[in-house]
């Protein structure tokens, strides 16, 4: 039987890209997941994108903040998508 979660099972011990709610993105090595998409990632880099509107010009100012975390449990309900590592071969 093939199911969508197979893709994630094959990404265990690989670096994955995880898009979350509130314009948060994570990149890290996947060690564990369950059917809710709760996860444990290691060597995580989190990128938070914020957009603010300049009051005078009305231009949107996009800023990105990144931080690193050694080991992180992520609750599945904030996860939007999971992408396996890009293969360059």
């Amino acid at each position: 039987m093939e199911e969508p979660l197979d893709l994630i099972r094959l990404s265990i011990d690989e670096r994955v890209y995880v898009k979350c709610r509130n314009d948060r993105e994570l990149r890290g090595r996947l060690h564990a997941y369950d059917q809710h998409l709760n996860m444990v990632l290691s060597d995580v880099e989190e990128t938070i994108t914020t957009t603010e509107e300049d009051e005078e010009t009305g231009e949107e100012i996009v800023s990105k903040k990144t931080r690193s975390v050694g080991m992180l449990f992520v609750r599945g309900d904030i996860i939007v998508l999971v992408s396996p590592p890009l293969r360059t071969s």
Binding site: M1, I12, H31, D34, V69, V74
Partner: protein, 104 residues
């Protein structure tokens, strides 16, 4: 049940729980249940100036659903064991899905 078991192995360890309202609480993990509710002891609020109402917090119960992240010390985690447990729990042969499959 995988993460319930996982958090049970972390009881007594220092963790940082980041909530969906951006509050970050650090403390000792006292206990966890099947909903991944968490009880923390000796709580410290990161960025306390922003949340003065939380200054007096010492012990607390956190509803599992409001958790965004739990930061863990990498040396408290056996990643090999975790990966094996994940593969076992999510292996295609296990579970009730077979009930719906065609018999050949």
């Amino acid at each position: 049940m995988l993460f319930y078991s996982f958090f049970k192995t972390l009881v007594g360890k220092e963790v940082a729980v980041e909530l969906k309202n951006d509050v970050i609480l650090t403390g000792t993990l006292h206990s966890v249940d099947q909903y991944l509710n968490i009880k923390l002891l000796t709580v410290n609020v990161v960025n306390q100036d922003r949340y003065p109402q939380l200054t007096s917090l010492k012990n607390c119960f956190i509803r599992g659903s409001v958790v965004r992240y739990v930061q863990i010390d990498p040396k408290d985690v056996d990643t090999e064991l975790l990966q094996d447990a994940t593969r076992k729990e999510n292996s295609p042969q296990v579970g009730g899905g077979a009930l719906m499959e065609d018999k050949k």
